[in-house]
């Protein structure tokens, strides 16, 4: 089509519409509010419903129920709202609800700096709710990726029947850049597997743990059940330890065993490099500048950008470590994802964090200094 000058939040809304999102509920919060505004305009145009809820808890309640009634649902918030989403995220997990949750991160904790950027919710997203079951989270670095990864988040939500997080930040959400959305290649749209009419419907299937069961929408051809409690395959409360373990094994396996399929990374490798920069989100753009600069100074250096943060794209990370002796992990937090890299790095490989949480971007110079180039 052509270029536009868009902010990331609009790209998220457009990505959602491209994925045929037809339900949105949200509560205003800086810097995520404009997603609510865009969706209030875009969703009713396709016959869907978008509503400003009374609070974040209601936003999630509306979305979970609408998703189980067959809608493709999305909500968007920032850190303080994520705290209020927490309990309902667990509900969406235990009920196997396809749902996209956008977190436009801002400086926390608490109210923090409402209009300032940060990427401090990385481990919070992983452990967002009680029980500690695996989650899927994607992290865009550009306005174009905000569009693409939101679209992909819907596909993953439908495919794995689970809430999927889009972890962006003020620095992408309300930063504008030139982008041609139509030039972005997208995979085919994925719709949830639906239980066929006439066949007995069980809302959950634990038999082969990694298999994702077909769903029957509320109001459709079957009688549907949904529960927040530990349950059997029919969604009836159970207290039998063996059944409960089957349920947990299923919720764990369906995401963990699919980690390689969910993994999205971008590689910029150089032969003979002994240093690797691993980054994600807005900070990966500072890393790109730093890598170019280091190469211009004659260094050999590789870069790995993680678009999937959860589940950890472990295979892709380990594959990138061949010959690497030093890993630099810049993050706009005090070193949250470095924990995951340290877990995967062989003994003897130095993992160096570049960490700042003062609302300003990590600069290329700060990364170059950590690598010893400055």
């Amino acid at each position: 089509m052509g270029r536009e000058f868009l902010e990331g939040n609009e790209a998220i809304a457009r990505g959602a519409m491209k994925a045929r999102c037809d339900f949105f509920a949200g509560y205003p919060i800086t810097p995520a509010s404009s997603i609510l505004h865009y969706m209030l305009e875009l969703v009713p145009a396709i016959g869907g419903t978008a509503i400003q809820a009374e609070d974040e808890i209601a936003s999630m309640g509306f979305c979970i129920a609408a998703a189980m009634a067959g809608r493709k649902a999305m909500t968007a918030t920032s850190g303080p709202g994520m705290s209020l989403y927490s309990e309902n995220v667990g509900l969406a997990q235990i009920g196997e609800t396809p749902l996209v949750i956008v977190n436009v991160q801002r400086q926390g904790p608490a109210t923090g700096s409402a209009t300032k950027g940060a990427e401090g919710d990385i481990q919070f997203t992983r452990w967002v709710t009680s029980g500690g079951l695996p989650v899927i989270a994607l992290s865009p670095a550009t306005v174009g990726e905000a569009y693409e990864l939101t679209y992909r988040a819907f596909n993953l939500a439908e495919q794995y029947r689970t809430p999927v997080f889009v972890l962006t930040s003020k620095e992408i959400g309300v930063t504008r850049e030139s982008v041609d959305l139509d030039a972005i290649e997208l995979p085919p749209l994925v719709e949830r597997k639906r239980a066929a009419d006439g066949e007995e419907y069980l809302p959950h299937r634990f038999g082969r743990p990694a298999d994702v069961p077909a769903i029957s929408d509320f109001g459709g051809v079957h009688i549907a059940r949904y529960t927040t409690s530990t349950h059997d395959q029919a969604a009836y409360l159970t207290t039998k330890p063996a059944v409960i373990q089957e349920m947990i094994d299923h919720y764990t396996a369906k995401i963990d065993e699919a980690a390689d399929d969910i993994a999205l990374v971008k590689r910029d490798f150089q032969d003979g490099a002994e240093t690797l920069v691993i980054s994600y989100g807005i900070t990966s753009r500072s890393a790109a500048v730093a890598v170019r600069e280091a190469r211009a100074r004659g260094s050999r250096i590789s870069a790995l950008v993680l678009q999937t943060l959860w589940p950890v794209p472990a295979k892709a990370i380990v594959a990138a470590l061949d010959g690497i002796r030093k890993i630099i992990v810049p993050e706009m937090n005090m070193g949250q994802y470095r924990l995951e890299i340290e877990r995967l790095a062989p003994t003897g490989v130095a993992v160096i964090g570049v960490n700042k949480m003062n609302t300003s971007l990590i600069s290329p110079a700060e990364i170059l200094r950590a690598g010893g180039w400055l």
Partner: protein, 441 residues
């Protein structure tokens, strides 16, 4: 209902037996397709009821049944959605009760109100009468009870009724509630035979005494139908302004003289249209074949304080969006100066500052161009202050033609605002006697 699940799980004599069976009777009376009915529950003893029904069932978080019920109804307005909740749930989820009443989303809410938390050990709730003995009010409740119907009616409930578990017509009243097109609240007063009733020696007569004590009556207390939310939503959307058409895309139409990545900071006050002007400036850059980023900084206040936009123009893809040292800095107000004063002091001599001439700039190595921006704005429009400043910069630097900015203004702004801004563009360009030398695309 089905008996396959076994007997109801409630204590002997508990009012939940009565409410559950009355709901079943009402559903049978209404002859609804069970696939089109959803019983929504949350936490509390009454939350165990949904599994005994052959309809759809949704069992959610404590106090949030109304949110799921609303989500189902918004998603599929053709469904009959009935939420069952305890008085405890009305405490933790009180805001949802107020808001569903206010919005008039067509769900039915039945509150099994037994004045305490039966599931967690008989603690007091928002409906525990004053002086009531509970496990958390051992010396008598010093709080007052909430009148659920009165509260919901005050919030706008179209239909509300109060019953007790002893009412012979309970099933009929439930059926009447379900038949309402809008929101309907039914507050059913019950005995909790495990905790509240024995502790407070309450039976049927004492329930009636409580009504009298609080001056409350039974029966339908509000019946003022108005259009249901989803119907209003569709109607308002259909009658409203058409959806914004997709914004025009930008084709390259002009040349530029930007040889290397160029950083521009525009610093002014909230209300001076700093950010929207920066967007126009960047769109003009796109019309001139450049890539651009715009990163803004502003406080949480709206019409006061500073507003600052950082623009980067480049012929290559821009990665790092912050500007360490700008090539051009526009300062157009005191707020803008305050937010950039330290930065101005550090600027190298390669930077040019375009400043409103009345501002008292700190010492700097940068080249300073003073312009009567505010004066020009009083002659056009204060809202166009930033456009005037940007036009002055463009005229002086020749980064790309003023025509590109004019093009952005007329493409992306409404005719009325564009007219003002095109005048402002001329006024700004007249402030400096620059020379231009563009390459054509």
């Amino acid at each position: 209902m089905t008996d396959k699940i076994g007997p109801l799980p409630f204590c002997p004599g508990c009012g939940h037996h009565v409410v559950t069976k009355a709901l079943d009777k009402a559903l049978v009376k209404l002859q609804l397709d069970p696939r089109k009915v959803v019983i929504v529950t949350d936490i509390g003893c009454i939350g165990l009821a949904d599994r005994y029904f052959t309809t759809n069932a949704f069992h959610g978080l404590h106090g949030r049944s109304v949110t799921y019920a609303c989500g189902l109804k918004l998603a599929r307005p053709e469904l009959t959605v009935i939420a069952l909740k305890g008085d405890g749930g009305c405490g933790i989820g009180g805001t949802h009760v107020l808001n569903v009443a206010r919005r008039n989303i067509g769900i039915t809410l039945i509150v099994a109100n037994n004045f305490n938390y039966g599931m967690t050990g008989g603690q007091h709730s928002v409906t525990t009468p004053s002086d009531g003995i509970t496990s958390t009010t051992p010396w008598g409740n010093v709080e007052g009870p909430m009148d659920l119907c009165g509260t919901a009616i005050a919030a706008g409930a179209a239909w509300a009724a109060r019953c007790t578990m002893f009412d012979k017509d309970l099933a009929d009243v439930i059926a009447q509630a379900i038949a309402q097109p809008g929101f309907a609240l039914l507050d059913v007063w019950e005995l909790c035979t495990a905790y509240y009733a024995p502790r407070n020696k309450i039976k049927k007569k004492e329930l009636d005494d409580l009504l009298e004590r609080y001056g409350l009556r039974l029966g339908v207390l509000a019946d003022t139908p108005r259009p249901e939310y989803s119907a209003r939503y569709r109607a308002a959307y259909a009658a409203g302004r058409p959806v914004i058409q997709r914004r025009p895309t930008i084709e390259v139409q002009y040349g530029n003289s930007v040889e290397r990545q160029t950083g521009i900071v525009i610093a002014g006050s909230a209300g001076q249209k700093i950010r929207s002007t920066a967007t126009l400036f960047a769109q003009a850059a796109l019309f001139s074949g450049l890539d651009a980023t715009q990163k803004d900084d502003y406080p949480i206040t709206v019409m006061t304080g500073h507003s600052l936009s950082e623009l980067i123009f480049s012929r290559q893809r821009i990665d790092y969006t912050a500007i360490e040292s700008p090539d051009y800095l526009l300062v157009i107000s005191e707020d803008g100066l305050r937010s950039t004063r330290e930065r101005i002091q550090r600027l190298p001599n390669t930077c040019t500052v375009y400043a409103e001439q009345s501002l008292d700039l700190p010492a700097t190595k940068a080249r300073v161009v003073r312009c009567p921006i505010a004066q020009a704005a009083t002659e056009t429009s204060r809202q166009a202050t930033a456009v005037i400043a940007v036009a002055a910069l463009l005229q002086d630097t020749g980064l790309f033609p003023l025509d590109a900015l004019a093009r952005a203004i007329s493409t992306f702004q409404s005719a009325k605002i564009a007219e003002v801004n095109l005048k402002a563009l001329q006024a700004g360009a007249a402030l400096v006697s620059g020379q231009t030398g563009f390459r054509e695309p």
